[in-house]
C-alpha cells in the first residue's frame, strides 16, 4: 500500500505550498509497522467514505490535507481539514508523520 499526503494552507501557507508530498510505501516497512499503517489507512478511508460529501467552508489559517491511499491499485482519496477532522484520519496523519522516513523531511 502506498500513502501520499499533500499538506496545504495554514498560517505559513506560501511555505507549505512549495513542500513536496509525503509518501510512505508499506512494502518498505517491517510487517508489524506495515500492518498497523495499512489498518489505519483502511479505517480512515472507511470513515471518510461515511462522512463524505460534506461541503467545507474555508476557515482562516486552517490546514487542509489530501491523502491518496493506493491499496494495490484500488485508489481512494481523502480530503480533510483540521477543524472538522475525523479522529481516524488524524491518527493516520500522525502515523505517517511519525514514520522514520518522514521525520526529517520538513525542509
Amino acid at each position: 500500500m502506498k500513502i501520499t499526503v499533500t499538506e496545504r494552507g495554514g498560517f505559513a501557507a506560501p511555505v507549505l505550498r512549495r513542500r513536496p508530498d509525503t509518501v510512505v510505501d508499506t512494502a518498505e516497512l517491517g510487517s508489524a509497522d506495515a500492518a498497523e499503517l495499512e489498518g489505519a489507512a483502511r479505517t480512515a478511508v472507511a470513515r471518510a467514505a461515511d462522512h463524505g460529501g460534506t461541503e467545507h467552508r474555508a476557515r482562516p489559517d486552517e490546514q487542509n490535507y489530501r491523502i491518496v491511499v493506493d491499496d494495490h491499485g484500488d485508489q481512494s482519496v481523502i480530503k480533510a481539514y483540521d477543524s472538522t477532522m475525523d479522529p481516524a484520519v488524524a491518527h493516520l496523519l500522525d502515523r505517517v508523520r511519525r514514520h522514520p522516513a518522514n521525520a526529517d523531511d520538513d525542509g
Partner: protein, 399 residues
C-alpha cells in the same frame, strides 16, 4: 445529549463545556457548572474552580487547554483559567498572556469587548498534533501547534501570531470577509495589520520604530529568514531553499498573483496577495506618523466594520479613505496619508474628490496644504462676512 434538568454524567471536553457555559439558558449554564463540580476530583480542584470562574458571561475570560499532541480537541485537558497563576508549561502561559494582551488591546484602544464585541470567552488549545506547524482560529477557539523543532518553533511564542488569529475572529464578527481571492487576502491583511499593531502597542513603538515583520519568532534560530512576512517590504521576508525559495508576496497591484480558488492554491493566494494591503497600511501609518494604533488603527478598524463579505481591495481602499475623512476631516493629513498609501500600491481611491487629489499632489506627500485648508477657509469666510457687513453699511449710509 439531553442536559436540561439533570446533571451531565460524563466528563465533557473543554470546548463543549465552554459552549454550555456560554449558553443563554440559565439552567444549561447551571447544569454545566454542576458537571464541573462533580468531575472536579478527576480534573483537579484548581481546574474546576477556574472554569467555574469563567461561567459568568462577558469580559473575554481565558481558558487554555493542552491537546497532548492529539488533534482531537475533545481529548484536551484544561490547564489554566483566567484567575489561575502561571503553570509549569511555558506554552500554556505564553498563549494565556498573548490572548490577554490582544484582548486588552481591543478593549483599551478600540473599545471592543473581546472578539465578538460581547465579551466572548477566549479558549486556547496548545500542543495540538504531532510537530504541527501552524496556529489557527476555527470560529470558536484558537489552536496552536508546537512546530517541528527544525524549521518552525512553538507558535505560542509569537504575540503577532496570536493577535493575527484573534483578529480573524473579529473579522468574522464584523465584515465577515469571505476567505478566498481578494476578500480573503483582505481578511489575512487585516489580521496582519492588527497582529503588528498589537505587537507595537505592547512594545510601545512608533510606526517608524517598528519592524513591521510578521512571524519572526515562529522559525527556529537556524533558519535564515527575517520572518514569514514583511509589511514594510512584502516579498523580502525570506529567500532560502529551506522555505521553498523566496517570499512570494507582491507589494503592488501590477504584481498581483492570480491563483485558482482551491485548497491547494491558498484559496486564491490569500496569504500571498495580502502583501498589497499590508504595504498600504504600513505606508498610511508611517505617512501619518506616531503610533500605528492611533489614527491608522482607528481608520482600518472602522473600515473593517463598514465592509461586507465580498469587499475587494478597491472597495476597502475607498472605505478607509472615507473613514479617514469622517474621523479626521476631509483633506486632513490623515486622509491625505491614506490616499497616498493606496496610491503607493497602485490603487486609486475612486471616492476621492478632484480637490483632495490635487492637494495630495501639491503637498508632495506631506499633507501640509491639506492640513491648513479648513482654517484657511474659515479665515476667508470671516473676511467675506466682514466685508459684506461693511458694504451693506456703506449702502445704508448712501441712501
Amino acid at each position: 445529549m439531553n442536559i436540561r434538568g439533570r446533571s451531565v454524567n460524563c466528563i465533557l471536553p473543554p470546548h463543549i463545556l465552554n459552549a454550555l457555559l456560554d449558553s443563554d439558558d440559565r439552567e444549561i449554564r447551571r447544569t454545566a457548572i454542576a458537571t464541573l463540580t462533580s468531575t472536579s476530583r478527576l480534573r483537579g480542584e484548581r481546574t474546576a474552580r477556574s472554569i467555574a470562574a469563567v461561567a459568568a458571561p462577558a469580559g473575554g475570560r481565558r481558558t487554555i487547554s493542552d491537546c497532548h499532541q492529539s488533534k482531537v480537541l475533545a481529548q484536551a485537558t484544561v490547564e489554566r483559567g483566567e484567575d489561575d497563576p502561571a503553570v509549569a508549561d511555558g506554552s500554556v502561559n505564553a498563549a494565556f498572556d498573548g490572548l490577554g494582551t490582544t484582548r486588552d488591546f481591543y478593549a483599551q484602544v478600540l473599545q471592543r469587548n473581546s472578539i465578538d464585541g460581547r465579551g466572548m470567552r477566549l479558549n486556547g488549545y496548545v500542543h495540538y498534533g504531532q510537530a504541527f506547524n501552524n496556529a489557527f482560529w476555527d470560529s470558536r477557539e484558537m489552536v496552536f501547534g508546537d512546530g517541528d523543532g527544525r524549521v518552525f518553533s512553538d507558535f505560542t511564542g509569537a504575540l503577532d501570531v496570536i493577535a493575527h488569529e484573534l483578529t480573524h475572529g473579529v473579522t468574522e464578527h464584523t465584515a465577515g470577509l469571505e476567505y478566498h481571492n481578494q476578500s480573503g487576502a483582505l481578511n489575512e491583511s487585516v489580521s496582519d495589520v492588527f497582529g503588528s499593531v498589537v505587537k507595537q502597542w505592547k512594545l510601545g513603538q512608533t510606526a517608524e520604530q517598528a519592524d513591521w515583520l510578521i512571524g519572526e519568532k515562529i522559525f527556529t534560530p537556524g533558519v535564515d529568514a527575517d520572518a514569514l512576512r514583511s509589511m514594510k517590504a512584502p516579498g523580502t521576508a525570506y529567500d532560502t531553499p529551506l522555505l521553498g525559495g523566496k517570499d512570494p508576496q507582491p507589494d503592488r497591484m501590477s504584481k498581483f498573483v492570480n491563483l485558482p480558488d482551491t485548497d491547494e492554491d491558498d484559496n486564491g493566494g490569500v496569504h500571498i496577495n495580502s502583501g498589497i494591503p499590508n504595504k498600504a497600511f504600513y505606508l498610511a501609518a508611517t505617512g501619518i506618523g506616531g503610533n500605528s494604533w492611533g489614527a491608522p488603527g482607528a481608520i482600518w478598524y472602522e473600515a473593517l466594520k463598514a465592509s461586507s463579505p465580498d469587499t475587494d481591495f478597491q472597495a476597502f481602499a475607498d472605505t478607509t479613505f472615507a473613514k479617514a475623512g469622517q474621523l479626521f476631516g476631509t483633506g486632513s493629513p490623515e486622509q491625505q496619508a491614506v490616499f497616498a498609501a493606496w496610491q503607493g500600491v497602485e490603487i486609486k481611491i475612486s471616492g476621492a474628490s478632484p480637490l483632495s487629489v490635487r492637494l495630495s499632489a501639491s503637498s508632495n506627500g506631506t499633507g501640509a496644504a491639506a492640513a491648513s485648508l479648513p482654517s484657511r477657509v474659515d479665515e476667508l469666510a470671516g473676511q467675506i462676512k466682514a466685508l459684506t457687513k461693511e458694504v451693506n453699511g456703506l449702502r445704508k449710509a448712501r441712501t
